[in-house]
């Protein structure tokens, strides 16, 4: 069986092949196992190496640290030692130097003393008698003598007194009284004095400066002296006389006559519905102590009411609060210790509308003001510049004048009457508005301006040189100006038509004055004391 053999060979070879394969496989497996073991060993070794590496690193790190620290400590200690030793050295140096210096000073002094001694010795050596210096004697005499110097006593007045001891003595000086208030008049004074008790008196003589020609001898203890000057101080003294003789003069007392009444400056007074500003002249050459202002409300029937007095007014002006729509009479008196003067002339105030006057001092020289002070004219004639007198207060370019509006924060109203062709500027300005500027040109004035051109009438409402563009068809001839401090407005009206023309809205920083100017020859009249019409307040 070839077949079988082959087959068996196959089988054998197979088996042999198989067992060879198995052997191979075994070997391979063994090798593989061994290799695997080796790998594991190597890995372990690597691991160990790594550990050792880390440990060494750590250890060396620690060693470095220790070394660094140790060296730092050493350095620090050395540095300390150095400091100490250096300080000690310094101290010692200082002490030694001080000791030597002291010794040096001592030597110096010794040298000086020795030098002096030598000089003295040399001098001594030069003098003849070497023992003279022992002979200097102190002064032992007495300064003052022992005897007393007695002046002779003067006893003559004692003798006189002793002689007159039984006679009635001459009177003592009377006691002059101080001036009784309100006992004086402008030209006379009543002087009083009193007797020193127990004196017997025949008569008194009153003296005053200027010295009386004939001193009146009066029996009473008072005397009225007349023909004096008002508001003048006089000195008075009194002597009392009896048979024995005249008393010494009393002390001098000063009496004052009452002042003359003041004079109210009508043109400098102004008013508005709520108040009046009164100004006056003292009326006396010498100063007075104060003024008293008296006001009386006069009813519509002419009857007067109660007199109200404002006392101790220190200056020659007074701002008085009043009720609107009334009439008042105002008087002023001057007061000194002698008493109050007579009443000044009466001044009537009507609290309807606002009343003010034009300030003549501010008027441009070309402007002439009427007698009553309410109309102004700018004449045609050209005044030469030399004829015009300017001062700090007068307008120099704009032919203008200011009004003296009462400084009260209320509502004021006044009217201006003019021709429709008059070229004017009317409005208000601060008191300090530049006198060489034109009204309305700066921010210190507000005004309505009328310019007449060949073709038409032009109206401007100027402030800071600017005006809105406004046309008015009916030219006003009577213009109402309404000033309201509270609302900060200045309005203009055509009075005849009751037409509102324009209103400035401004906030006034201080009191303003009405201002009036004529740009070309013409005239205008100011109407004050007019009650503001109702429509004025509807703005």
């Amino acid at each position: 069986d070839g077949h079988d053999d082959v087959f068996e060979e196959h089988k054998e070879s197979e088996v042999r092949g198989g067992s060879f394969l198995l052997c191979l496989q075994d070997k391979v497996n063994n090798i593989r196992t061994k290799l695997e073991e080796k790998v594991v060993e190597m890995e372990n070794f690597a691991g160990h190496l790594e550990e050792i590496f880390l440990t060494v690193e750590e250890n060396f790190g620690r060693q470095e640290q220790h070394l660094e620290q140790h060296c730092n400590d050493v350095l620090q200690t050395l540095s300390h030692r150095y400091d100490e030793r250096a300080a000690a050295l310094g101290e010692e140096k200082k002490k030694k130097l001080e000791a030597l210096y002291t010794q040096l000073l001592g030597c110096g002094r010794t040298l000086d003393a020795s030098k002096d001694l030598i000089e003295t010795a040399q001098e001594l050596y030069r003098t003849e008698d070497k023992r003279l210096f022992l002979q200097e004697k102190p002064d032992l005499t007495l300064v003052t003598p022992l005897e007393f110097d007695m002046p002779l006593a003067d006893l003559s007045d004692v003798k006189t007194m002793m002689d007159s001891i039984n006679i009635v003595p001459a009177p003592s000086a009377p006691v002059i009284n101080p001036q009784v208030s309100n006992s004086a008049t402008r030209t006379s004074l009543r002087v009083c004095w009193s007797l020193f008790s127990d004196d017997s008196v025949e008569y008194y003589e009153l003296y005053y400066r200027p010295v009386l020609e004939d001193t009146p001898a009066v029996k009473e203890t008072h005397c009225s002296v007349g023909e004096l000057l008002p508001n003048v101080q006089y000195e008075f003294w009194v002597t009392a006389t009896n048979t024995t003789g005249i008393s010494p003069a009393s002390e001098k007392a000063v009496y004052v006559t009452v002042p003359s009444p003041p004079v109210i400056r009508q043109r400098e007074c102004s008013s508005c519905p709520e108040a009046a500003l009164i100004r006056w002249e003292s009326g006396n050459t010498n100063p007075v102590d104060s003024y008293t202002v008296e006001l009386i409300e006069t009813g519509t029937d002419g009857q007067s009411g109660v007199t109200e007095s404002i006392v101790a007014v220190p200056t020659c002006e007074s701002l008085i609060q009043l009720e609107s729509g009334r009439q008042y009479l105002i008087y002023v008196r001057a007061v000194n210790i002698g008493g109050p003067s007579d009443r000044s002339q009466a001044f009537t105030v009507s609290t309807t509308g606002t009343v003010f006057h034009l300030l003549q001092d501010t008027a441009h020289p070309c402007l002439s003001i009427s007698e009553d002070g309410f109309s102004m004219f700018y004449g045609d004639e050209e005044l030469p510049l030399s004829a015009m007198t300017f001062d700090d207060n007068t307008f120099a370019r704009c032919v203008a004048v200011l009004g003296d509006l009462i400084p009260v924060r209320g509502r004021h109203y006044w009217e201006v009457e003019l021709d429709e062709d008059t070229e004017y500027r009317i409005g208000v300005a601060y008191e300090d508005t530049q006198r060489n500027s034109y009204l309305g040109g700066a921010n210190t004035s507000w005004c309505m301006r009328h310019v007449l051109t060949p073709s038409r009438h032009k109206y401007e409402f100027l402030h800071s040189g600017w005006s809105p563009d406004i046309r008015i068809t009916v030219n006003p001839v009577r213009i109402g100006l309404s000033l309201n401090y509270e609302r900060g407005i200045l309005s203009f009206f055509n009075v005849e038509l009751e037409q509102h023309l324009y209103t400035f809205y401004c906030s006034f920083q201080r009191y303003v004055h009405p201002c009036f100017a004529l740009d070309n020859p013409g005239a205008l009249t100011v109407h004050t004391g007019v009650e503001a019409p109702g429509y004025v307040h509807l703005v």
Binding site: R456, P468, D469, I470, R471, I472, T473, V474, N494, L497, E498, Q499, H500, L501, Y502, Y535, L538, V539
Partner: protein
């Protein structure tokens, strides 16, 4: 008997609430049906009420809207009436929403009536062709030409029908009326005042068309409404009317924006009116306001001044 009872009831009702009954759409008395107002809107404003009404106009033969502002004072008392005429292209809405007039009207106790500017919805051929002729451009004249003459009677509407309507339906003082307006309405206000001396206690205007026969707007409108005979135009020209005015003294306030494009386009011509009034001594204060144009912003800025001006005469 029934009709008699109805009359008594009506009479009693009218007596009891004289101010209130007319706010209801159906009039209880027979004659009132034609004068009936229908409220379209109501808004409280400045303490009073801004209302809009609609009614059948007998003059204009169409439904017309009219705005009415009632100040707080109207609840208790009769108030004067300020009529406002609006300009080209406006309706009754523009003034009441843009001009800011209610505050001043409230403070001064004045009723403000603002009608529309022309009849509407009349279906006239060509009425909507231009913005400056026809709808929204009635020019406050009574047209004499076809096809406008039936409806375009704004002059009579403003001067007669509207006051009747207002006086019947509102607490209005019939003796105290004044008139004002803007642009074409300014023209309307001026001619109504000049043609009816004494009827209006005050008059003012914003950028009015002062001399329509000399400007393009006026010439277009007048030739359309009034025909070619220029003589008929003069009756509706404020400058011409001023030159021949005689009547109680007027005090006219006019505000004009200096930057108004229509001023520079020579549509408004205020200088002509000023010259005529200066000649005739009719008091006018004309203010040229720098920077202002033709818009409602300009009206808003000065409406208070105008209402104050009117109040001076209406509340006197």
């Amino acid at each position: 008997m029934l009709s008699g009872l109805r009359k008594t009831v009506a009479a009693t009702f009218m007596k009891e609430c004289p101010l209130q009954y007319n706010y209801f759409p159906c009039g209880l008395a027979k004659g009132n049906r034609t004068m009936s107002l229908v409220q379209v809107s109501s808004n409280k404003c400045s303490g009073g009420y801004q209302k809009v009404f609609e009614h059948d106009s007998t003059e204009l033969k169409c439904k017309m809207k009219v705005a009415v502002y009632l100040p707080p004072k109207a609840e208790n008392e009769k108030c004067p009436v300020f009529y406002w005429l609006s300009g080209l292209t406006c309706t009754e809405q523009n003034f009441i929403t843009k001009a800011g007039s209610q505050q001043a009207a409230s403070e001064h106790g004045i009723i403000i009536v603002a009608p529309d500017t022309s009849p509407r919805g009349c279906n006239i051929e060509g009425e909507d062709e231009s913005w400056d002729f026809g709808t929204g451009a009635g020019f406050y004249v009574n047209a004499t030409q076809e096809p406008w003459k039936t409806n375009y009677c704004m002059y009579t509407y403003v001067t007669e029908e509207l006051p009747r309507l207002i006086n019947t339906n509102f607490p209005a003082d019939p003796e105290k009326m004044s008139i004002s307006g803007h642009s074409m309405g300014g023209h309307g206000a001026l001619i109504c005042a000049l043609k009816n001396p004494g009827k209006y206690k005050a008059v003012s205007a914003f950028a009015p068309i002062c001399n329509p026969i000399q400007c393009a707007w006026g010439q277009k409108a007048f030739s359309g409404y009034l025909g070619e005979d220029k003589k008929t135009w003069e009756a509706y020209d404020a400058t011409v009317l001023a030159a021949s005015y005689s009547g109680p003294q007027l005090d006219i306030l006019i505000d004009q924006g200096r930057d108004d494009q229509f001023l520079s386009a020579s549509q408004l011509l205020p200088d002509n009116l000023i010259a005529a009034c200066s000649e005739k001594k009719i008091p006018v204060v004309f203010r040229l306001q720098p920077g202002y144009d033709h818009s409602y912003f300009f009206i808003y800025s000065f409406i208070t001044d105008h209402i104050k001006h009117h109040a001076k005469f209406l509340n006197a």
